[in-house]
């Protein structure tokens, strides 16, 4: 498979149904995605083994506020990367740009997910800060949504839903409505919905920020084991030093608005990580280093 510039119509090439054409027509604004020729690298992201490559990406809102960049970012296939930064630094904006939910003001966003021709597959899974579930639909119907939108149904689809629910440990709650679930369980449904299309790239926007600590720790561990077993590329946005160090192979500390990459840390520790890691001296040392790198982003802020 050749390079896939970030263009949903091209992402949809992965589906055998030629939906890309329909999609491109339905959302014409994607056609205007800026390609700055000079910044297109000579080797493609695919050849370089990258899942995501951002070059010179900036986002300036209509109000004139520069939210992000210029940002260069490489994410390897199968890597777990955290974007860490103060609120308002543009880390969520970066995630939305990678997902195609927003278009960059300049620069290129290149995605090169591992190809799959399976029906109903989608290269990207997105988990928001809120569970973002449809309150009128059962857990099962919420997880079914991405498949339904791709016109995939039947026993194959039902099997995938069962599998996704089992992966997050919610098989017994398939017929419940979101309001009947706790905050952590809702987040699990949201994760199952992202996993049901078997995405190569999982984008997570502060998914556990609103949860209590015990639930967050448990979901951290479950996410790590999912990542190990499913070999996904994960880009995880968070404002928690401790969470980013615990989860990631690489922590990218972003500067205050407009967000750029400040310092990068490789978190090297014995795998698999578990609760022992959370209380180890090694973990504490990593957290101290990352915190120090983050401190300048908060300098000059009221209350910092």
């Amino acid at each position: 498979m050749g390079p896939v510039p970030h263009h949903p119509a091209l992402c949809a090439d992965l589906s055998p149904m030629g939906r890309g054409v329909i999609r491109g027509a339905a959302v014409p604004s994607y056609g205007r995605l800026t390609m700055v020729e000079s910044t297109v690298p000579e080797t493609s992201a695919d050849e370089a083994g990258l899942a995501v490559r951002l070059r010179g990406v900036t986002k300036i809102y209509d109000s004139g506020v520069a939210a992000l960049g210029p940002l260069d970012l490489d994410v390897n296939r199968g890597e777990f990367v955290s974007l860490l930064g103060p609120s308002g630094c543009g880390k969520s904006t970066a995630l939305r740009l990678i997902a195609g939910l927003s278009t960059p003001s300049a620069g290129t966003v290149e995605l090169s997910p591992r190809g799959t021709a399976r029906r109903g597959s989608h290269p990207i899974g997105f988990v928001f800060q809120e569970p973002t579930l449809m309150p009128w639909a059962t857990v099962r119907d919420n997880v079914r949504l991405p498949l339904k939108l791709a016109h995939t149904s039947g026993s194959d689809a039902e099997g995938r839903i069962d599998q996704a629910l089992a992966q997050v440990g919610l098989a017994e709650f398939a017929t419940a409505y979101p309001r009947e679930l706790s905050g952590g369980m809702k987040m699990r449904v949201s994760l199952a919905r992202a996993l049901v299309t078997d995405p190569d790239i999982l984008l997570m926007d502060e998914p556990f920020a609103a949860l209590d600590e015990i639930t967050r720790f448990r979901l951290n561990n479950d996410l790590l084991s999912l990542w190990r077993n499913l070999h996904k590329t994960v880009i995880f946005v968070t404002h928690s030093v401790f969470e980013s160090v615990y989860l990631s192979e690489r922590v990218i500390v972003m500067t205050a608005r407009p967000g750029r990459i400040g310092t990068e840390f490789r978190i090297t520790s014995a795998e698999p990580r578990g609760e022992e890691f959370r209380t180890s001296a090694e973990y504490a040392a990593f957290c101290r280093e990352v915190s120090n790198a983050l401190a300048p982003s908060y300098a000059g802020r009221a209350g910092a």
């Binding site: 999609r23 959302v27 997902a99 997105f126 309150p135 009128w136 639909a137 991405p146 939108l149």
Partner: protein, 262 residues
């Protein structure tokens, strides 16, 4: 404790109602008030029974008009809101006229409608004019209240406009639409009554409002009260049915239909 409070809540209005009727009956008897001035409650009930053939026929006519106006308002209101949601230009062009139709008193429009339209059509149009606006404005509000991130998710998965409408916007707007319909039910009865009074025709096709006007001219006050009682009951039943439908559709998921405990 809670069930006792519930019981009191149901009983109190009933007690007040009964006491009011008894007082009314007593005053009419004590002061020997003539039926053409103020009929006693018992006489109203008697008239309701004795005039039932005429009154029931009129009730049927009024209810049919109300139903037709309500259906037209529901379909028209939701359809207009969907059109407005698809095209901002259409919304900007037409919404002011929807407001003008709403704020102009329908009793002033009714005589004009009767000149240009056939009577039966005019009556339904009247009911529609009064009732469609709450459906339109509530549906518009509902369609615009869709969760931004859910909309983003639909975009991410390449949902078509139709899929977004059917699986996201309409379900999200449903509680608002049902709220609009509950208001529209009562309003279409008002529209039907206003139009009947303005039309003022006699014969087999006359509704309850016409019976009230007619009985007034003939000083048949007990029948006026009986017809009024029927109209009032019709309004209560319409509201009750719509509230029940709304509850049944929303009880599994929407806050409005859930008890405090859950």
């Amino acid at each position: 404790m809670k069930s006792l409070q519930d019981l009191v809540r149901v009983l109190l209005p009933g007690v007040v109602f009964a006491a009011g009727l008894v007082l009314w009956e007593l005053i009419v008897r004590l002061y020997d008030i003539q039926p053409y001035v103020l009929p006693s409650p018992l006489l109203v009930i008697k008239t309701l029974v004795s005039d039932w053939p005429i009154l029931s026929q009129s009730l049927g006519v009024t209810l049919l008009t109300t139903l037709e106006g309500f259906v037209a308002a529901a379909v028209g209101g939701v359809a207009l809101a969907l059109l407005f949601n698809q095209s901002k230009w259409l919304e900007y062009s037409l919404f002011p006229y929807a407001i003008i139709l709403q704020v102009t008193p329908v009793i002033a429009i009714a005589p004009l409608l009767l000149i240009y339209l056939q009577q039966q059509t005019a009556v339904i149009v009247c009911a529609w004019i009064v009732a469609f606006f709450p459906v339109l404005s509530n549906t518009t509000l509902g369609l615009n209240s869709v969760d931004r991130n859910l909309a983003g998710l639909f975009q991410l998965y390449g949902a078509s406009k139709l899929q977004t409408l059917l699986f996201l916007k309409l379900p999200a707007a449903l509680p608002y639409i049902l709220g609009g319909l509950r208001i529209a039910g009562g309003l279409s009865l008002i529209g039907a009554v206003v139009a009947e009074i303005a039309a003022g025709s006699a014969g087999a096709g006359s509704g309850l409002a016409f019976r009230i006007a007619e009985s007034g001219y003939r000083l048949n006050i007990p029948r006026m009260f009986a017809a009024l009682l029927l109209l009032s009951l019709a309004g209560i039943v319409i509201y009750g049915v719509l509230a029940l439908i709304s509850y049944l559709l929303l009880r599994r998921w929407h806050e409005s239909a859930l008890g405090k405990e859950s």
